[in-house]
């Protein structure tokens, strides 16, 4: 029993810091990606043929390249053009760009699932384009998208581990540090794996609750 508490006191802070950073980046990047994905959808729908093509190209680009490459590009590249962002911001930004692409596709699917009749109805009562978007389109798109968004957030959560490659002190980085410090071969990674599973489970619960909440409407 003593040994357990010593363990917690020695290594606890490290894991907690890792959890904090992971959760922080995951939350911020998820929010950012949803907003960015929504913006991309807006461009696709509103900016004519060229807008749609541009968004298509963007989505294809990020679908077919690994996140790690995007992270490296921003982390190593931005300082060269004068943007000296901290590593965590670079990584978070890359995650937003990448996941924004997937999320815009999710939102697009939900948008296409909305009955066209609703738009005719909105037009016939004289709603402006902006108001139609805000009051008719957006709420329904968000509601239909909840399950798929939940999935994407879990993927994003797991991708935060890649930020360890640019020395952000999230969970995976902590595990690496602890492994080097203590010489314990792999225990740290098992602990961290369990912590990730907990975060994933928590995220899934949140989204399931959200799903049920909007259904009552």
């Amino acid at each position: 029993m003593m040994k357990f508490w010593t363990w917690v006191r020695t290594y606890g802070p490290g894991y907690v810091e890792g959890l904090e950073w992971t959760a922080l980046v995951a939350l911020a990047a998820s929010a950012g990606a949803i907003v960015w994905g929504g913006a991309l959808l807006g461009v696709r729908l509103g900016a004519g043929r060229w807008g749609a093509r541009a968004v298509d190209a963007y989505v294809q680009l990020f679908r077919n390249t690994p996140v790690l490459v995007s992270i490296y590009l921003i982390y190593f590249g931005f300082p060269l053009v004068g943007l000296a962002w901290p590593a965590v911001v670079c990584g978070g930004f890359a995650l937003v760009l990448q996941n924004g692409a997937y999320i815009s596709e999710i939102l697009r699917g939900s948008y296409q699932a909305i009955d066209r009749v609703q738009f005719d109805a909105a037009k016939s009562i004289g709603l402006s384009a902006w108001h139609t978007f805000r009051k008719v389109t957006l709420p329904q798109v968000l509601v239909y998208s909840i399950p798929a968004l939940g999935n994407q957030v879990v993927l994003l959560l797991k991708d935060t581990s890649l930020l360890s490659a640019v020395a952000v002190t999230e969970l995976t980085m902590q595990a690496k540090l602890l492994t080097e410090q203590t010489g314990a071969a792999y225990e740290a990674f098992i602990v961290v794996a369990v912590l990730y599973l907990t975060l994933v489970a928590a995220s899934e619960i949140v989204f399931r609750v959200a799903e049920r909440a909007v259904r009552w409407r």
Binding site: N64, V69, T172
Partner: protein, 223 residues
């Protein structure tokens, strides 16, 4: 980079790296498919305990980042006195990960087959071997194909993570060149282009295959 030959060197290195990435992905896809078939058999087993075990295993592998699994295997192997090196560790990790993804794909494929197809096969009284070979495998294969191709694309992208456990492949090569030359955008841009070609290529290949199978009567069943 200043000289043309420096460019050529870099390009050649990246191309080699791309081939290694492709090779890693291909090996893990092949092994992962085999693992998946075994997993599906367990997942559809009549024994409740086995089905539970399958669900737990799937949940764990899907709920932890590939990088963490890679680091775990990478550090665990020497600790268990198995000195296999980063490559083998990498292929093991990718195989396990893809195995789980493919298993879910195949399960989805099985569930997508209309019930009367199963009923028809049963009614014909086919022996298990013929049933599997002539009916189940071809049908599951066709219904799973799009999702299967998606996972193959994911395999190529996941191989980049192995660079972090010092497997020499495309991303690793790109980092090496950057650290020497600081030509970040061009080198990573090229690397991204290679990945794009590989992933997009696999996607197109998949669509072609789907198209050919559709002509042979898969998609668009009327009646």
């Amino acid at each position: 980079m200043t000289t043309w030959s420096a460019w050529q060197n870099a390009l050649a290195l990246l191309a080699q790296g791309a081939l290694v990435s492709l090779w890693l992905a291909a090996a893990s896809i092949a092994a992962g498919t085999v693992v998946a078939v075994v997993l599906v058999a367990v997942g559809l087993s009549r024994i409740g305990l086995l089905r539970q075990a399958y669900r737990v295993y799937i949940w764990v592998v899907r709920g932890t980042p590939v990088l963490v699994q890679a680091l775990l295997v990478f550090y665990a192997l020497p600790a268990l006195d198995l000195h296999a090196g980063p490559y083998i560790a990498g292929v093991i990790v990718l195989t396990m990960y893809l195995g789980v993804l493919f298993a879910e794909v195949f399960r989805g494929g099985v569930l997508a087959i209309p019930q009367t197809q199963w009923d028809s096969a049963k009614s014909l009284g086919l022996p298990p071997a013929a049933l599997l070979r002539r009916v189940v495998a071809p049908l599951v294969g066709r219904y799973s194909l799009p999702a299967y191709i998606n996972v193959c694309v994911m395999a190529v992208k996941a191989s980049s993570v192995l660079s972090i456990i010092s497997v020499w492949e495309l991303t690793f090569a790109a980092r090496q060149i950057i650290e020497r030359t600081l030509a970040v955008f061009s080198v990573l841009g090229l690397a991204a282009a290679f990945y794009f070609l590989m992933c997009f290529g696999i996607d197109r290949l998949g669509r072609w295959a789907e198209g050919r199978l559709a002509l042979r009567g898969f998609a668009g069943e009327r009646g």
